[in-house]
């Protein structure tokens, strides 16, 4: 446990090993945008007179196309009605007409029921193009605003510690780590399980940011305290290592309790927040990791000004980087 700081470059490498594939996926495939950010309509329709397996996506696509919704994406699911399992479909189309959405909706439902008997429209969301564009813009603004305000607060909170800006910057770097990791994983999950990025995804991302900072603050607070009571022989590396070890039980326990509640939500909670919870789970683990293994370690890197050694041939970057 006394070598946590010594292995700092290994911890950084582990972070990069997860982040880089995500970024590659992000560059190639991007994110699967939900209708909140890309515009469009999402129909959740229940076919009361059909059992699961009795539906054909191509046929449903054709019905939608006949009503003016070409290129609909149809995903078959199932749902419960009075204890029976019936077929359902989630259909994504372009957004409804702005001038007469009701007539359009009626036509589609009538056409579907002409083919399949009684249908229930469980949910219908339609987001226009201007709204989605504005949502995207304010989402970016929200994330940047959160970063700036938290940086300012951290600098203020650690104003008595030496080099208060360092704490803020290192916390933000750890936060960027979490944001990149979550975005990368979301991109990979978009390819693998079709995870869509919607307004709830943004909510999860911002929560991850705040929880990441939360964890970082607890570790930094210990470092600040131990620096005040510093013994003359103690090096900065030792203080950071000691602080991490002291806060480790708390980090693990808090992580566990949050993990339990999120697992409960994931297993038993509603279908519509499953993605929110999944992203929160990934992000919170990343947040705790980054506060211990990135944020605090970066303070050491900064204190020792190790970047001046990174490009010198005699001391290549790696686990052997000498402690100052």
């Amino acid at each position: 446990m006394d070598k946590l700081v010594k292995f700092r470059y290994w911890w950084f490498a582990l972070s990069l090993a997860i982040i880089i594939p995500g970024l590659v996926s992000l560059a190639i495939f991007g994110l699967r945008l939900g209708i909140d950010f890309s515009g469009g309509a999402l129909w959740d329709i229940q076919f009361v007179e059909r059992a699961p397996g009795q539906l054909d996506t191509e046929r449903i696509r054709a019905i939608f196309a006949a009503q003016g919704f070409e290129g609909a994406l149809v995903q078959l699911t199932e749902s419960q009605v009075d204890g029976r399992t019936v077929a359902s479909a989630v259909v994504r189309t372009r957004s409804l007409s702005e001038t007469d959405p009701e007539a359009q909706r009626q036509r589609v439902l009538s056409a579907l029921s002409a083919e399949y008997g009684t249908v229930n429209q469980q949910a219908l969301q339609s987001v226009g193009a201007t709204v989605s564009a504005e949502s995207t813009r304010s989402a970016v603004i929200a994330v940047i605003a959160a970063c700036v305000v938290i940086l300012a607060y951290l600098t203020f909170a650690f104003r008595r510690a030496p080099h208060p800006v360092r704490y803020g910057v290192c916390a933000i770097l750890a936060m960027i780590h979490d944001v990149l990791l979550v975005l990368g994983v979301a991109s990979i999950l978009g390819v693998v399980i079709g995870l869509e990025v919607d307004a709830l995804f943004l909510t999860a991302l911002l929560t991850v940011i705040s929880f990441s900072v939360h964890d970082t603050i607890v570790v930094f607070d210990r470092i600040r305290e131990n620096l005040v009571n510093r013994r003359p022989t103690e090096t900065f590396d030792e203080i950071v290592n000691h602080s991490i070890v002291q806060t480790l039980p708390r980090s693990v326990n808090t992580q566990l309790t949050t993990f339990f509640t999120l697992m409960a939500l994931l297993l038993f909670g509603g279908e519509s927040i499953r993605n929110l919870v999944l992203i929160l789970l990934i992000g919170l683990v990343s947040g705790t990791y980054s506060s211990i293994f990135n944020a605090a370690q970066l303070l050491v890197v900064w204190e020792n000004r190790e970047w001046s050694r990174w490009f010198r041939r005699s001391a290549p970057p790696g686990a052997e980087a000498p402690a100052a």
């Binding site: 949910a123 607060y153 909170a157 709830l200 964890d215 806060t247 509640t261 909670g269």
Partner: protein, 480 residues
Amino acid sequence: MRSRDIYSLIFILLIAGIALSIVFAPEGRWLFNRDVSVRLGLDLRGGIQVLLRAAEPVERSVMQTAAGVIERRINGLGVAESVVQLSGNDRIIVEIPGIDNPEQAIETLRGTGKLEFIDTKGEFLAPGTIVRTTGSPNPVALRPTATATGTDTVTGTTTVTGTEEITPTVPEGPIYESITDGKDLDLNSVQPPQIAGQSLTNQFAVPFAFTGESARRLEQFTAANIQRPMCIVLDNQVFSCPVVQAALIGGRGEITTSTRQDAEQIYTQLKYGALPVPLQVESSRTVSASLGQGSVDASIVAGLVGLLTVALFMILFYRLPGFLATVALLLYTAISFALYQLIPVTLTLPGIAGFILSIGVAVDANVLIFARLKEELRRGRSLNASIDAAFVEAWPAIRDSSVATLITCTILFMFGNTFGVSLIKGFALTLGLGIALSLFTAMVVTRTFLHMINPLPFAQNPWLYELKDAPGMRHVREAA
């Protein structure tokens, strides 16, 4: 026990009592008949949210008028807890929870305003009464399904079958004969209130005029019914029932009131009874009530499982302090729900997720404090001194991390507010509230509990704090 702790304990018990009385208030009514029933969001009880945008560029004041018109019409629909608010310069957010066939309701809202004079056969109707008229015999508000409450959930889905069109349930009540047709109102004739007659009586009048068939019929009716009441109805809602003073020649007349305020109101109603600008449905979200009910059930199970797991973990891991923290956590849950009901906070699915997540945060403050407590006990301080030191030392970390999370919640709330994504707002609100509240339960409630058990002999046992030895405790135990 110090007197300060006794006061704290009384305070905590008082808060707990109030919280429980709100949560378990009979029929959702609390002090002074205040409505403290649980408010469920659109995603949990079903309903519709639409973002309406002006079809042409307009002034903000015009949009405010339009929002006012829509609000009046929703009230006419007989739906409780609806929301109408301006967003930006040219958008209106409308939320209507818990109604069947919400899309049709939205169509009604977007329709034009309808002014009618009706023949009540001498009857005075109370202002605000919803009536059926020959011009509009089937107002949405009077359909039995339109006022369906949250309890009527399973049947509340929009159902369309292949053979039959949606047949609205026929409302009950008499149909009054409309003398005029709203579309015959000459909007140019509606003028701002003027001081009526000789101005000695301080009366105000709003002039108006009908054209065509309506003008002819209004003239005939008023000539035949002098000194009898005639009701003015706007969108099927009775506005007033003045007594006819004279025949309205050419369908031209004025509505007299005794205050300028009333006159202004009538003027606005007549002039803007119709929407000042056509509105387009820019985006909409509809959720059926049955889908919502499934989500509520799932959330309750998830919440209970989450709470139980955390309680078990805390007790197994931290023993006595963990048990006290669990009691504080139950109190936290009760106060949270009491606040949701009192403020009121509309619970959405992400809102519930925010609350369940905040349980983790609430526990975190305790975890931080207990970690310090163990350190202090190991160092050989007495239990009492350790408790105080633990709270003092854990405070900066708890404070700073809470502030950071509150900052994020504020930003999320603002983001949600701008675009009417009430789901995000719900999450930010419950999480933010939870963090503020957990400061109270961790710093006051758990602390008071710890101080209370301090004098008890059984509490002076290192095992209860998951320690092999606590040097500071021994002499206390021996003395006891």
